[in-house]
Symmetry: C2
């Protein structure tokens, strides 16, 4: 396959799964052809490349580190090799660059200069959780992290639930694993019993993946102990008074 | 690899791209191992399976058709083989089952019975467009289709733009290809000049993919003629008065 003169956005696996279960084979060929990478963390990027391509000559690769410590002005300079005609790649530590992730800033600069950007297929815990939840996939919102403080978090949960009813939308958010228990408690305490809630932990992990949807009322009865694993939370509160548009798209073509 | 006793959610390619560029190799092995499929359209599902596995014995496969004509009560009966201990698969015509797609209803029934659901990695034009847009991937909303009628559509666009400013959220929606021109016109007419707008057409197609982000002001100057191709529209209207949280996630772990 021929590499395009572009900024490739390369997803990285999000669990201990083999690349064969989460990555198209061409992604590996693309990685092999790239000498300039913008990455979230150089050390882990080196390890990822070495794992996917054991014959890689890491010393021949130039890395630029893009994370929340990177200065806005510096980011634009990272694209110099692409401007000079070299294929480049963006790789985050895990998941899809630009989605809940620092990659978006450099993509936006590339776009503003008319440089070509090519996103590659790979694992996104957000998308996979939504698929697996069975909740409304015609309308959904990803809300990042909710507030840490209890009162603020519960106010936010109530707000998102009201919007779910009003707009027939699935609400999605994430939490850092060590706060999962607190989040789970807040959700059971705050949401209505009939709201459907999905807990999706260790998505794509062949051993630990757990994706379960129950009504809040049922979750309360289960005495479920949530693991300290990477988790996506989703809920959907159908409006009992109107027919949900769930699963009845108008002329769907290709999504 | 060993198949799990589960309902596999199997994405299908969304363009003329080779499976090698959009599908993990294990997906093919999983497809080969499944004898019961719930699909959006039996004829195209047969063709997809035959394309991915030319040696497949289609006559040995049982198909259940799930689309907007399917009766709610009938859907539950489709899961009988899984209840009796057979691996099953859900496949839509293109893209990811359950995301802007009829698959969600049967997943929800499986979840309500405690049956295991395993979503597989594959192409989603929504996710890929968001990655390629460079727009805010920390907060985003997928809104399905907007109203068809001009006045309603423009009111909806204005409403989504106001929410983008208020909540720092990227707005995403789709349109049927033959209405792309009308939608594009409405967007240029309605959005503020400084709003960033991305047009993502024929995503993953090796020849026709086009993903471009410009400010609305710039789009107006370009005299751009939008193609009648499957397209995802995205816009993001940063609040000039507050620092965008774009690309500055709190402790991100794995998305």
């Amino acid at each position: 396959m021929n590499l395009q003169m572009a900024l490739y956005l390369i997803p990285v696996d999000i669990s201990g799964a083999s690349w064969r279960s989460v990555m198209p084979p061409e992604n590996l060929e693309i990685i092999k052809g790239i000498r300039y990478f913008i990455v979230e963390n150089i050390r882990t990027a080196r390890r990822t490349i070495k794992r996917l391509d054991p014959s890689a000559d890491i010393s021949a690769i130039t890395f630029y580190e893009l994370n929340r410590h990177t200065d806005d002005k510096e980011i634009s300079t990272f694209l110099q090799p692409l401007r000079e005609g070299n294929v480049m790649g963006v790789m985050s530590e895990a998941g899809c660059p630009g989605v809940a992730d620092p990659g978006a800033s450099v993509v936006r600069i590339a776009q503003s200069e008319g440089l070509r950007v090519i996103p590659l297929v790979g694992p996104s815990s957000i998308l996979l959780s939504l698929m697996g939840s069975g909740l409304n996939g015609q309308n959904f919102s990803f809300n990042g992290y909710l507030p840490v403080e209890n009162t603020d978090r519960e106010r936010k949960i109530r707000e998102l639930e009201a919007l779910s009813v009003k707009n027939d939308v699935t609400q999605i958010f994430i939490e850092t694993p060590y706060r999962n228990e607190k989040m789970f408690e807040s959700l059971l305490k705050t949401l209505r019993n009939e709201t459907l809630m999905c807990v999706a932990s260790s998505v794509t992990d062949p051993e630990k993946e757990m994706i379960q949807t129950r009504s809040v009322g049922e979750w309360k009865k289960l005495n479920f102990k949530i693991a300290k694993e990477p988790t996506v939370f989703l809920f959907y509160s159908p409006n009992q008074n109107k027919r949900s548009n769930q699963s009845y798209g108008k002329k769907k073509n290709f999504i």
